[in-house]
């Protein structure tokens, strides 16, 4: 009986809201935004300017010149290095669902005419976690850029190391950081764009190694997760802890750039470092 009562209340409550339009609820300010409006704004909350998550394809679409993207290693798929239960099956389901083969897309592209190697992580694939494929694709991207005197622009978004690959995932931190260093020692420019969320083993490797580190507004950046810290120190953390603005204040990022200005800022930075329009 009580259950029926709740059903009625729930139904009435639901009826009050817009019935059919899906709604995005901002994780920062809790404002409800109709999904079409939110998508029109490229997934930026109109109330608080929180920059929500984009798929890799959406990100590439709003960042690079039309038709200029050429993907690397599109078919690379992860093995199962520690024979983790259901890992292979889980990935097959995710491939079906997302159309991705793993959590990062890499390739070459032009940004307002300047050639770059670009990498974009996608949080829909196991929270953008880094395993063998993410490590290998990122290392190859930096090696290619080093060999061809190209800059690298990397959009990060990750929960950290991929637990299902155990210690092998930890080693990807060394693999990717080594490749960043190789590219850097050859004089290559590396611009990191931190997007929501960038944490754990990705923060503690290639995401923190950019010559220029940009972040989108209000996004989460950190090494340890909020809950882990709260349970270690047994107290609540301030609301703004680990947000982009907090990290800017602490000196770990160079600038916060809004999504609508990102392409133009990247283009200017590339040109300021001498990476000009490709002469055709």
């Amino acid at each position: 009986m009580l259950e029926d009562f709740f059903k009625v209340v729930k139904k009435r409550f639901n009826d009050d809201e817009e019935e059919k339009t899906p709604v995005f609820k901002c994780p920062r300010c809790q404002t409800a935004v109709p999904m079409p409006r939110y998508e029109e704004l490229h997934r930026v909350c109109p109330a608080c300017n929180y920059h929500g998550r984009l798929s890799a394809a959406e990100r590439i679409g709003i960042t690079v010149d039309k038709e200029s993207f050429h993907e690397f290693d599109a078919d690379m798929k992860s093995g199962d290095p520690i024979d983790f239960p259901d890992y292979t099956e889980k990935q097959e389901a995710l491939r079906e669902e997302t159309g991705l083969n793993d959590a990062v897309v890499t390739g070459t592209a032009l940004i307002k005419g300047s050639p770059v190697v670009i990498g974009v992580m996608d949080s829909r694939y196991m929270m953008g976690s880094m395993g063998s494929v993410v490590g290998e694709k990122i290392a190859r991207a930096f090696e290619y850029a080093a060999d061809n005197n190209l800059p690298v622009v990397m959009f990060t978004c990750s929960g950290g190391a991929r637990m299902q690959e155990g210690i092998v995932s930890l080693m990807q931190m060394a693999k990717t950081s080594g490749a960043v260093k190789l590219h850097s020692d050859k004089g290559g420019l590396y611009i990191t764009v931190l997007t929501d969320p960038t944490t754990g083993g990705v923060t503690a490797s290639f995401a923190s190694l950019g010559d220029v580190i940009i972040a989108e507004p209000k996004i989460l950046i950190g090494f340890a997760g909020r809950r882990v810290i709260e349970s270690t120190i047994k107290q609540r953390l301030p609301e703004d802890f680990q947000l982009a603005e907090f990290m800017l204040d602490k000196g770990f990022i160079d600038m916060i750039v809004e999504r609508r200005k990102m392409r133009s800022v990247l283009s200017h930075l590339l040109k300021l470092h001498g990476y000009n329009k490709k002469e055709v």
């Binding site: 798929k77 983790f84 063998s132 210690i167 930890l170 931190m173 693999k175 950081s177 923190s208 190694l209």
Partner: protein, 268 residues
């Protein structure tokens, strides 16, 4: 070597009270150890110990993450969980070693980098990332040994090396079994189960290409015979450092890069 012990049983050995710590080993493996302090940026993290010493007759730089032997020592060294300044001290000493052409010995024994407000504010992620990238190209041989626990990025910050050795009962993992169970199954009490599937034993690490050598422990564990285990570590170090010092440095660096570059399993 008793290879029949499970990962969980070995973890219990590593957690045995009285298991030797970096402070126990240093005087038995090295001579003339002079400890150096501070990162020259913020402070002196007592979770990381470092300095110059001799191994046989050769000057070396020793850097270790240190556990306490009792509660007083553990409070001081924060239970071997470094803050960013600890990793930055390690990097300072590593660069000093490169300048004076000394090989580096890293002794790893940590549950992981500390998770706290101050650690985040001072850039825990950046400090670890910087160490990983810089150690990759330091122009001097680096040997790392996991003595007990090698916990995650906090261990890898001293784990980019030319060769990694693991004590027989030690483990090296992406996360503690407890954290692993809690993240994957939302149930920390399944830590024993996690421990067995994580593939963190010395033999697993060699098999996965993460470690190159296993250092044998006395029967029942390192705590049963400190002299013997120190002798085993010293013997390993003397041999491997002589070998690495003979190599051309550019060849060594290429091999170091490749060692990490080839870890991973994928198809295309």
């Amino acid at each position: 070597m008793d290879e029949k012990k499970t990962a969980w049983e070995r973890l219990q050995i590593v957690h045995t009270k009285g298991r030797p710590t970096v402070r126990d080993y240093i005087p038995l493996i090295f001579t003339d150890f002079y400890e150096m302090h501070g990162d020259r940026l913020y402070g002196d993290d007592k979770a990381v110990i470092g300095g110059v010493a001799r191994l046989d007759n050769r000057p070396v730089t020793v850097i270790g993450i240190v556990k306490g032997r009792d509660i007083t020592e553990n409070k001081e060294c924060n239970f071997a969980m470094p803050h960013p300044e600890g990793y930055r001290k390690a990097l300072r000493l590593a660069r000093q070693a490169e300048k004076f052409h000394r090989p580096i010995v890293c002794l790893i024994d940590t549950p992981g980098a500390f998770c706290g407000i101050a650690a985040e504010e001072r850039g825990q992620g950046e400090a670890i990332a910087k160490n990983i990238a810089e150690f990759m190209t330091l122009r001097t041989p680096i040997i790392s040994i996991v003595l007990g626990e090698g916990g995650s990025g906090g261990a890898l910050a001293l784990g980019v090396c030319d060769e990694l050795a693991v004590l027989q009962n030690a483990s090296y993992s992406v996360l503690s079994p407890r954290g692993f169970a809690s993240i994957l199954w939302k149930d920390a009490s399944r830590e024993q189960e996690a421990c067995e599937i994580m593939r963190t034993t010395a033999e697993d690490l060699v098999h996965l290409g993460v470690a190159e050598a296993i250092i044998e422990e006395p029967l029942g564990g390192a705590h049963n015979d400190l002299d013997k285990i120190s002798e085993n570590i010293k013997e390993y170090l003397s041999c491997i450092i002589s070998k690495k010092c003979e190599k051309d440095i550019d060849v060594l660096l290429k091999e170091r890069y490749t060692k990490f570059r080839k870890i991973g399993e994928f198809s295309e």
